[in-house]
C-alpha cells in the first residue's frame, strides 16, 4: 500500500490520494451523522456529496490514469442521466427510483469486477475470491432490483410468483454458483477458460437475483428494497477488496450497514423474520374459523363533515392507497381547515405503510405537512383513545386489529396502529377488498367505524367543499 519513507513522485501522489480518502471517509460519516435530524439532514447530504467529489477528483491524479477521454465521456453521460432522473421523478415514484438506483449500483460493481479480471492475468486467490463476490453480489443486486422495480411500477404482477420445485431449483442454482466460484478461483487446467467461467457466473448471478425477488409480494417490498440497498453497498465493498481500495470499503460498508438496519426495522414492523419474508411470503390464507361480528356501516362524505367539524382532535393514518390516489395535497388542505376550526391534527405513520421505508413521510413532506406533526406508531398508540376521529386513508393491514386480538390470523402479533381505539374511525377506501395480506379487517365491522367508500381524493375534496360552504 503506501510507502511512507520513499519520496519519489508516485508514492507522494499515492500518499495524497490516500490521505484525501481518509478525509472523504470522515465527511461521509459526518454526513450520515447529520442525517439524524430533519433540520440538519440537508447539510449532511451536501457534506456527503463533497466527500464524493473530493474522492473522485483526487483519484484522477492517479498515475495509472492516462486516458481521460473515455472517462470524460462516461462521466458526462452519467451525470446527464442522473440529473434528469433526479429532476423528473415524481415523489410517488420514489420506491421505483430507489430500486433502479440500487440495481445500477450493483451493475457498476459487477463491471468493475469484470474489468479487473479482463485487465489482469495474474491475480492472487484472495483477489479472485473477492472479485467473484463482487460479480455475484453485483449481479444479484442488479437483476433483483429490476424485478423489484417492475413489480413496483406494476409492469409485472405485484403478487408473489412461484412455481413448483422452486426450492429445489434454487438449491441447485446455489450449488452451481458455488461450483462456478470454485472454477473461477482455482482455474484448474481442465476447466473452460476464465472468460467462459466469467460469463457463466454473471448469468447465474443474474438468474439468482430474479429467483430471489420473484416470489416476494407487493406488501413485502419495503423489506426487499432495503435488502437490495444493502447489497448494492456490499457489492461496492467487495469491489473495494478486489481493488484494494479503502474508500470503497468504508463507503460500501456504510451503505451495507444502513440497508441491513432498515431491513431489520421493516421485518420487525411486520413481526416476521427475514427468512420468512424471503422464502415463504404470506402463505395462502388458511380458512379462518373466526367470524367477524358486526356490520359494515357506510357514511357519506357530507355526513362525515359534521363529525369532523365537531372534532377537537383528528389523527390521520395514511397507507399506500393515499399514494395511489395522490391524496396527500388535498389532505393537507383539509388539515388547514380543521386546524382553523380549532382541531389538533396529527399523522400516524406505520413503518411499513407504503412501498418503502419512509414513503409516507416523503409524500406528506411534499404536501408541505410539517415533520413535527408526523408521529411514529408507538407514540400515537399511547394516546390514540384521546382522538375524536381517526381517518384511515388507503391503509389496511397496518390498522388491522386482528393483529392484536385474533389468534390464528396470519398477521397476528404484527404491531399495528390501534385506530379502532379512537372515538370515531373513518375508513376512506375504494371498496371492500382485503389488503395485501389477504386478511379480512375486523376494523371495518367495529361499532365506532364508518366506511367512506370512493376515491380518497374525491372524498377529501367533498369534505373540503363542506367546510368552505
Amino acid at each position: 500500500m503506501i510507502d511512507v519513507i520513499s519520496t519519489d513522485l508516485t508514492s507522494t501522489t499515492d500518499l495524497v490520494i490516500n490521505f484525501t480518502y481518509v478525509v472523504a471517509a470522515a465527511l461521509f460519516i459526518l454526513g450520515l451523522k447529520l442525517l439524524g435530524h430533519p433540520s440538519s439532514a440537508r447539510k449532511g447530504n451536501a457534506l456527503s456529496s463533497i466527500a464524493m467529489l473530493l474522492a473522485i477528483v483526487v483519484t484522477l491524479f492517479d498515475k495509472q490514469i492516462v486516458n481521460f477521454e473515455l472517462i470524460a465521456i462516461a462521466m458526462i453521460a452519467g451525470s446527464i442521466v442522473g440529473i434528469f432522473a433526479a429532476r423528473l421523478i415524481a415523489m410517488t415514484a420514489m420506491p421505483e427510483l430507489v430500486s433502479l438506483l440500487n440495481g445500477i449500483g450493483g451493475l457498476a460493481s459487477l463491471f468493475v469486477a469484470w474489468s479487473t479480471i479482463e485487465g489482469n492475468s495474474q491475480l492472487s486467490h484472495f483477489v479472485l475470491i473477492v472479485t467473484f463476490l463482487a460479480l455475484l453480489i453485483g449481479g444479484v443486486t442488479f437483476s433483483g432490483s429490476l424485478i423489484a422495480w417492475a413489480k413496483l411500477s406494476e409492469r409485472i404482477t405485484g403478487k408473489s410468483i412461484t412455481f413448483s420445485g422452486q426450492a429445489i431449483f434454487n438449491l441447485l442454482l446455489v450449488a452451481t454458483i458455488t461450483f462456478a466460484g470454485y472454477l473461477f478461483v482455482t482455474q484448474p487446467e481442465l476447466a473452460p477458460s476464465t472468460t467462459t467461467v466469467l460469463y457463466i457466473s454473471v448469468g447465474l448471478a443474474l438468474l439468482f437475483g430474479m429467483m430471489l425477488v420473484l416470489p416476494i409480494g407487493g406488501a413485502d417490498m419495503p423489506v426487499v428494497i432495503s435488502l437490495l440497498n444493502s447489497y448494492s453497498g456490499l457489492a461496492a465493498c467487495a469491489a473495494g477488496f478486489a481493488l484494494q481500495n479503502n474508500i470503497l470499503i468504508v463507503a460500501g460498508s456504510l451503505v451495507g450497514a444502513s440497508g441491513i438496519i432498515l431491513t431489520q426495522i421493516m421485518c420487525k414492523a411486520m413481526n416476521r423474520s427475514l427468512s420468512n419474508v424471503l422464502f415463504s411470503g404470506f402463505k395462502t390464507v388458511v380458512k379462518n374459523e373466526m367470524v367477524i361480528e358486526g356490520e359494515v356501516k357506510p357514511l357519506s362524505a357530507e355526513d362525515a363533515y359534521y363529525v369532523l367539524e365537531a372534532a377537537q382532535s383528528v389523527v390521520v393514518i395514511p397507507g399506500y392507497g393515499m399514494a395511489v390516489a395522490q391524496a396527500q395535497h388535498v389532505m393537507k388542505e383539509l388539515q388547514l381547515l380543521l386546524e382553523k376550526n380549532g382541531a389538533e391534527v396529527a399523522y400516524a405513520i406505520h413503518p411499513v405503510a407504503g412501498r418503502m421505508p419512509g414513503h409516507m413521510n416523503v409524500l406528506l413532506a411534499e404536501a408541505d405537512v410539517s415533520y413535527e406533526q408526523l408521529f411514529e406508531m408507538d407514540e400515537i398508540n399511547k394516546r390514540i383513545h384521546n382522538f375524536d376521529v381517526a381517518m384511515v386513508i388507503g391503509a389496511n393491514d397496518v390498522v388491522n386489529p386482528a393483529a392484536r386480538e385474533m389468534k390464528g390470523s396470519p398477521i397476528y402479533g404484527m404491531p399495528v396502529i390501534n385506530a379502532d381505539l379512537a372515538k370515531n374511525v373513518f375508513v376512506l377506501k375504494r371498496g371492500m377488498a382485503s389488503g395485501f395480506a389477504g386478511v379480512d379487517n375486523p376494523l371495518f365491522f367495529k361499532p365506532n367505524t364508518r366506511m367512506i367508500f370512493g376515491d380518497a381524493k374525491e372524498t377529501l375534496n367533498s369534505m373540503i367543499r363542506q367546510f368552505s360552504d
Binding site: Q64, G82, V112, G252, L254
Partner: protein, 93 residues
C-alpha cells in the same frame, strides 16, 4: 497481510455504520436510502483507474468506462434526488 488490513477497515466501518444509521429517524428513511444509493456510487473511484489505464487492454478500459457511467448516474442522481426530498422537510411555521 493486505487482506487482513482491509478486513480491519471493513469491521470498523460496519460498526460505525450501525451506530450512525440507528439514530436516523423513521421520517428520513427514504432520503437515507437514496443518499445511500449515492454513496454506493463510490464504485466510480474504483472504475476510474480501470477506465483510464492503458496497460490493461482496450476491452477492459471500455468495461471500466461503462462502470464509470453507471456509478456516475448513482452519484449524481442519488445526491440530487436526496437533496430535492430533504428540501421539502419543513418545520411548522
Amino acid at each position: 497481510m493486505d487482506g487482513v488490513y482491509l478486513l480491519f477497515i471493513l469491521m470498523l466501518s460496519i460498526f460505525v455504520g450501525f451506530e450512525l444509521i440507528q439514530k436516523v429517524p423513521a421520517t428520513l428513511h427514504t432520503p437515507l436510502m437514496s443518499g445511500a444509493n449515492a454513496i454506493s456510487g463510490i464504485t466510480v473511484v474504483g472504475a476510474l483507474a480501470l477506465a483510464g489505464s492503458e496497460g490493461m487492454g482496450e476491452y477492459a478500459a471500455y468495461i471500466g468506462a461503462f462502470a464509470v457511467f453507471l456509478a456516475t448516474i448513482n452519484v449524481v442522481g442519488g445526491y440530487l434526488v436526496t437533496d430535492r426530498m430533504l428540501a421539502m422537510f419543513k418545520k411548522k411555521q
